[in-house]
């Protein structure tokens, strides 16, 4: 008790500040109510819902092909993978087997999406921790992937390239060359990322042993994707439950057991190498065939419940559709990884400094529109 009296006033009383909704390091409109004692974080309470658009409810009033353009707007950095998830669920329900060409193209584009998402993560994570150069270099290289998307899909970020039964249009003749050019360039550039940021002592000191999650905690909180794999939880949907062409490629699931912020970052950096490996295995072997199956003009799913999960750049995205036989779904539920990853933020940042909270928040790589939907 005596010590408490001697301590400075700031450390005696707990005070509460708002981080966000406009704080740049929350990457969107996430409001964190942080209880502080001095500089030590005592409690973090995330307040969500600032960008809630009711996407799940909107899905109930539109048809299945129309749902796809809404899923672009949930996790906008994994837009193509979200589209694919809905398409796979609808195709599963109808019992349609898409051609190998579609599977290959979908897989290549998914991996390109993953690369550009991790590039933006690297860019913004570096910026959060005080290295503005990373932001420019990350966006510079991301531009090349966006050009590939723009040429083939027509959109840069919001691609809307999938439709139930295949793709909206065939790939552009330049697609393969441009992708190979990018891989060749990025294989040279990715080691620069490591030299610039990963090896930096200040960067490492700010991340090592910060926001540690054990494997048991990761499983208990349902953490998937790079966040779960950094804690040693083997949860890659591509590996355990392969969809599209993932059963035809060989790749490693990146696993670390430390579970701190630095290893969450490491998983993403290593995943970019794996994604490039996957693309290289597929890009030259795209088989000929139809880019879309013939579908009825009005798609009606048979009555029942359908589930499909895919691995987005952030973790496992589940699409759960309940159909009552109409052209509109009865209920759609998205299991978004970001919402789940936000939950243990309090657990990770308790006892850390407020600057560490920025690092932890950045290492989770949250996309706020996906949390609120």
């Amino acid at each position: 008790m005596e010590e408490a009296v001697k301590a400075p006033v700031a450390e005696q009383e707990e005070y509460v500040i708002n981080m966000g909704p406009q704080h740049p390091s929350t990457h969107g409109v996430l409001r964190l109510v942080v209880s502080l004692r001095g500089e030590i974080v005592r409690n973090v309470e995330p307040h969500i819902g600032y960008i809630h658009r009711g996407i799940e409810k909107m899905c109930e009033s539109i048809t299945y092909p129309q749902i796809i353009h809404l899923t672009d707007r949930m996790d906008y950095l994994s837009a193509h993978i979200n589209n694919e998830a809905v398409c796979l669920a609808v195709e599963k329900a109808l019992g349609i087997e898409v051609s190998d060409r579609v599977k290959y193209i979908r897989t290549i584009l998914s991996e390109l999406t993953r690369i550009q998402s991790h590039q933006l993560f690297w860019a913004t994570f570096g910026m959060d921790l005080g290295g503005l150069t990373c932001f420019f270099y990350g966006l510079r290289d991301r531009e090349m992937v966006l050009d590939i998307f723009e040429e083939t899909c027509g959109g840069r970020m919001i691609v809307s390239y999938n439709c139930p039964g295949g793709l909206m249009n065939d790939i552009h003749p330049n697609f393969q060359n441009r992708t190979k050019e990018f891989i060749k360039y990025f294989r040279k550039t990715l080691p620069e990322y490591d030299r610039l940021l990963t090896g930096n002592v200040i960067f490492q000191e700010r991340l090592r042993n910060i926001g540690t999650v054990t494997r048991e905690q990761a499983i208990a909180w349902g953490l998937t994707g790079p966040v779960g794999r950094a804690s040693g939880f083997s949860c890659d949907v591509r590996k355990h439950n392969p969809y599209s062409a993932y059963d035809r490629v060989t790749f490693n699931e990146i696993l670390y057991k430390e579970g701190d912020s630095f290893h969450r970052y490491k998983v993403r950096m290593d995943e970019m190498w794996e994604s490039m490996n996957i693309i290289e295995q597929l890009i030259d072997n795209i088989p000929p065939g139809a880019y879309a199956e013939k579908m009825k003009p009005v798609i009606k799913l048979p009555e029942g419940e359908y589930f499909q999960s895919v691995e987005t750049a952030r973790g496992e995205l589940g699409v759960y559709i309940v159909s009552d036989g109409n052209k509109n779904p009865y209920r759609v539920k998205f299991r978004s990884p970001n919402f789940v990853h936000l939950a243990p933020l309090n657990l990770m940042s308790k006892g850390a400094k407020i600057a560490d909270l920025v690092a932890i928040n950045g290492s989770l790589d949250l996309i706020i529109p996906d949390i609120d939907r």
Binding site: E150, E151, G154, S160, L197, V201
Partner: protein, 159 residues
Amino acid sequence: MNSFIEYFRGIFHGLRSLLNGLSVTGKYFVKPGTTVTQQYPNKRKDLKMFDMFKGEVIMPHNGKNEHKCTGCGICEINCPNGSIEIISASIINEEGKKQRIIDKHIYHLGMCTFCGLCIKACPSQAIEFGQEFEHAVFDRRKLTKVLNQPGSRIMKGVE
């Protein structure tokens, strides 16, 4: 003594890592050829979007001011957010039959999400995506466009 050595080793290690990072930025600093910045407003004429780029929905007309739109309204049904409105009219054609033609194909650019479902669904390929990308206007009403040109007619042979 050991901690003393560790202390200096830490400093040297840190310095080396910083210099390592600086060498990357230094390399780009002395090589101006690697800059990727586009001089946007100055070199506007050189800018060309990709063929597939979804700029806006347009209705191509041929030299005789004819389009392919039959006014069936399938694009209107397929649009997820009501960006397309079709106002059709009926006329008596040359053969003396009643024919449904399009009066106005109204397109709200401000509401469009560029999903491409209207273009995919169009049975006569009457609409497609244009490459225009500078859409900023001072008045919101300018974003509502009528796609068929005034006085235009349907192309012969399109049902």
